[in-house]
Point group: C2
């Protein structure tokens, strides 16, 4: 293709044979799926063998960026990782920021497809057309910060990378993939997939800047984007405190569950107020090409961790390592957060696993002997720090928790499942589904399990673009579908979701940016872009259907959320009305209400006729 | 001067007025003192106000490199820091490696003289002719690794720096100055001097390569040097394990005191054998321009610190954090070592302070309440890690130990001084003076206190260049003077002492390198170079005399070394015969035996007539 916006190449890597082959990006793929998450869905659909063990060499790990990555467009240099998840058994997409995405583009690739398993630990060194499988035995076993020094020294000081730590090597089911600047593709166990392939890191460097189709149009669109960001009412708050601006607010709004979802109240929650948190900020920083600069560095001047300099935990981690464990000690949360980054652990799942263990001990389901003699208590920072380490290194009780709460509950037995807060095996994030029904519906139906970023409901949570009653069940199928498709559309373009969810960016502006950058006529039409979003979402669903984890029976939600009413205002007495919500949702989706399966009609409407045929052959189309 | 070898500039910095002025390097200074440690002695003699409080703005911190720094000559890019020490009250020289020394040269300076005190924390950004006093309030409080990210991002990714951590800021009396690559000018409290000046770091970048006077001669001399290194019998061992090659060997030879010098035996000492230590090595690395590559990185694959990646402790730290505390847990020693590097603490003094505290508690001199309820025990890794932190942050008992063992003993009283193993306030390193008399004599008479690197006696310890009975007192004055002057000579040229002490480099080769690089005729003569060594040594002594800490009564050694015989072979029954050794030494030095003061005759012989006159006016010349 006459390549604008895109790098124009896909790199196919086979670790078993140590072969890497670059192929031209098919124009048709670009048109049909835009890029990034879109490419991931299509490549996995095409390449993932049905029923594959996620930790076998046959699992496929797809790393992608969008057509705007590495350009002047704002917030568009995210890198996406798609794979079959060892945590959920479903299709998975994990995503992160920093500079690695832009660098992949500069190295000359829109997507990297990794298959096979190296005989011994390796890292992949991608230097434009030169691809090397480098021995990684000397860094196998090291944390991300330890590996960092080797990787950059051995390649290029200005290279960027995505690596795993000891957690990924030890196949912790929720091991993360961590970039050189500690941005993580955290969820779903991509780190374990890399670990299972003996792939310690992917390092990239290049100087190939993407060509822009229409420079003048593009410049204007970017100016409009920057203007739109600056006049957005959430811009200032995002800049000042990042996602932490929302911790206290979401607590007040009743979205912030505590003590493993038992409660919605938290002692000393004042410590999460913006005016307290801002005292810890040492530095603002941004991902490649983003004026929001939501990244924060953190300075501790008192207490046992004084002097240590760490990434500031995000909203989610202040919840998973904080509120959900009854902990409000910011220093300990921050320290544990950074340990998790360096070991390469998803903080949401790790925190949920710790909350699960504490509640099991509290309920008398597990004995002190089973938890290595630890005194598991709510609100104890030492428990947090110790269990993060034990999970990452699979020590003692950590070896069980490293399986994720779903499997850990199966191992423990004795009714432990009741306290395992997950959907499809993915631990719940910091939003109580009972307090936001469309948001909860997105979680319940999500193709990757309980991810807060696959359908974050701005209508309900922040009232953007218009306020909707979060407790009502009316029209929530439509709202859930809307944000799921919108998210898929923007992520197919490689966009960060913060500007999307805060209303800084519209489909109209997305269209301008995409067309000006790529010159692809179809991208001029926002209806087409929405169609791609829905197409991507349905194709991801189809992968789950093919894998046998894509029916109504998989769209579950923990019993506690279904049966225990919220004990306090503002969501007092709310439960989650799963069945009613699902009926509405499947109908709006054009899927079969009884089975939750996509219909031939819907798939054909989305240009996925072949997909429909494949599912039909498998007996997985509704009759 | 027609500038060869040297950068040709001295930078005078006044932090109080935020003025920096560069002056041409006087040729006479270069000829008379060569550079590096030589420049430090001369500049301190000239500029240090008599009787200054080491932590006041009037203390002078001199940072220097030698004329071979940044050239192809091997092991010659050390950076030296001279100041009046807050730990000892004496003149002090502290020294380190890495790349910072070469970069100072590339930035265009042979020496930097820092005076005054900034009103608020600053760092100095030296970019060739551009000198900036940059606000450092955002990194004040951070560890060295935390600061690193800011300093390099805010200046130049390829810049190099020397910085302090929380220990220096808190004026811990043995706070270190740490480079970007964690090489430290550890001893004597240079970090506290920087802290007292509100100077967080000195960052340098430049592209000015030193000019060589005679390229062909120089190339040949460097070739000869590399050849000499390679054929040296210690080269291989240094390369394989660095200074750790000697841990077990020196233990066997009886130089390795244990349990605060109470014993000379250590349980599980096998863990320090080269064949065990080499299993931890993940990487060899070198300072600028050195084929020895004695630097090691360390990988822990088991235990509580698994996955963490740290600098390998040197010989001294395996002693101070290991043998001297009864600890042989390599993982804990390594972890504590790196904590110390990141907090900016001298590991020798910190370990000695911990040993002192443990023995006081063991002897019942301090109570559990006074040590924050800790159970201080020999051989307990947790005690080590906890006390390193407490000292660095001046918490509880750490606040007293942070004063160094001499002052801590005064604070405690109750006879604690008996267990404070120091000379002139500087904690003893890993050599038992009783087992090597000339080496011990160097320690006792050293101008900076008990430093192992100011007169390391290769004759006694390794038998280089010829073996001398270490227990005999015969001829030890001469041997002590020889290594002290030799050390001063090589350090005036900016040399690392490892090649000197292992016999890889001779004065003859030094002379060739210096002359070829600088074209200074005097440097052709090795006798002249030896004279400079003695001159530097005597000038440093004169500074101490002027400060009132340079007489025989200051050349003391701990009572335990004087009175308690070594309990085990090979040095069984040895004590340290201080007075006999001192008499011999002063005589050989041409100093007054009764007072230990340098004579006018000796000073004049060394070209230090003005120095003699000054001391005379102060009544500090022997009558």
């Amino acid at each position: 293709m006459g390549c604008y916006g895109y790098a124009g190449k896909i790199l196919f890597v086979d670790l078993s044979t140590k072969k890497a082959v670059a192929q031209d990006l098919p124009l048709d793929l670009a048109k049909t799926f835009i890029g990034a998450r879109g490419f991931g869905a299509k490549l996995l659909w095409d390449l993932l063998p049905k029923g594959v063990d996620p930790l076998s060499p046959d699992n496929v790990l797809v790393l992608t960026v969008g057509p705007l990555a590495g350009t002047a467009a704002q917030s568009t240099s995210r890198w996406f990782v798609m794979f079959k998840s060892p945590l959920t058994g479903t299709y998975f997409r994990s995503v992160s920021g920093g500079f690695f995405g832009a660098m992949l583009k500069f190295a000359g690739y829109d997507a990297i497809v990794v298959r096979g398993r190296a005989e011994k630990p390796v890292y992949l060194w991608i230097h434009e057309d030169h691809i090397e499988f480098r021995d990684a035995s000397h860094i196998w076993g090291l944390t991300v910060d330890g590996s960092r020094e080797f990787l950059l020294e051995e390649t290029n000081r200005n290279a960027r990378f995505a690596a795993i730590g000891p957690a990924g090597e030890r196949l912790v089911k929720f091991a993360a993939i961590v970039s050189d600047d500690y941005r993580t593709a955290g969820r779903g166990g991509g780190g374990a997939v890399m670990g299972s392939k003996n792939l310690k890191a992917i390092v990239a460097y290049g100087e190939r800047r993407p060509k822009i189709y229409n420079g003048e149009l593009f410049r204007k669109a970017v100016e409009e984007q920057v203007e739109s960001y600056k006049k957005n009412p959430t811009f200032e708050g995002f800049h000042e405190l990042g996602t932490n601006n929302g911790v206290y607010l979401l607590y007040v709004l009743g979205h912030f569950p505590t003590y493993n979802f038992k409660q919605i109240e938290l002692e000393n929650v004042d410590r999460f107020k913006p005016e307290v948190l801002e005292n810890y900020i040492a530095k603002h920083y941004s991902c490649y090409g983003c004026t929001i600069r939501c990244g924060k560095k953190f300075k501790l001047t008192k207490g046992p961790y004084a002097g240590l300099f760490w990434d500031f935990p995000e909203y989610e981690t202040h919840w998973s390592f904080g509120g959900n464990l009854g902990i409000t000690n910011i220093e300990a949360i921050t320290y544990a957060n950074q340990l998790a980054d360096r070991y390469g652990l998803d903080t949401i799942s790790a925190g949920a696993a710790i909350a699960f263990a504490i509640e099991l001990y509290e309920k008398g389901i597990i004995s002190k002997r089973e938890i290595d003699g630890l005194e598991l208590r709510w609100g104890d920072p030492d428990v947090l720090v110790e269990l993060v380490r034990k999970i990452a290194l699979r020590e003692g009780i950590g070896n069980i928790l490293a399986e994720g709460v779903k499997r850990a509950a199966e191992i423990v037995g004795r009714g432990a499942e009741k306290y395992a807060m997950h959907i499809k095996g993915l631990e719940l994030p910091a939003y109580d589904p009972r307090a936001a029904k469309a948001h909860g519906l997105s979680l319940a139906t999500s193709n990757i399990g309980a991810s807060h970023m696959i359908g974050w409901n701005k209508f309900e949570i922040t009232g953007i673009p218009r306020k909707v009653d979060p407790f009502s069940t009316e029209g929530k199928g439509e709202l859930a579908k809307y944000v799921q498709d919108e998210t898929a559309m923007f992520e197919a373009a490689g966009f960060c979701l913060f500007p999307v969810n805060s209303g800084m960016i519209t489909a109209d502006l997305l269209s301008k940016l995409l067309y000006a950058a790529t010159g692809i006529e179809e991208f001029k039409d926002t209806k087409y872009l929405w169609l791609v979003g829905e197409r991507v979402y349905n194709l991801e669903k189809a992968i789950n259907v093919r894998e046998g984890v894509g029916t109504r029976e998989h769209d579950k939600i923990p019993e506690r959320i279904l049966k225990e009413p919220v004990p306090r205002p503002p969501a007092k007495r709310q439960i989650f009305e799963l069945n009613k919500l699902l009926d509405d949702y499947y109908k709006v989706r054009g899927w079969d209400t009884k089975t939750g399966l996509p219909t031939r009609g819907k798939l054909e409407e989305l240009g996925l006729r072949d997909v429909a045929s494949t599912l039909e052959k498998l007996g997985m189309l509704p009759v």
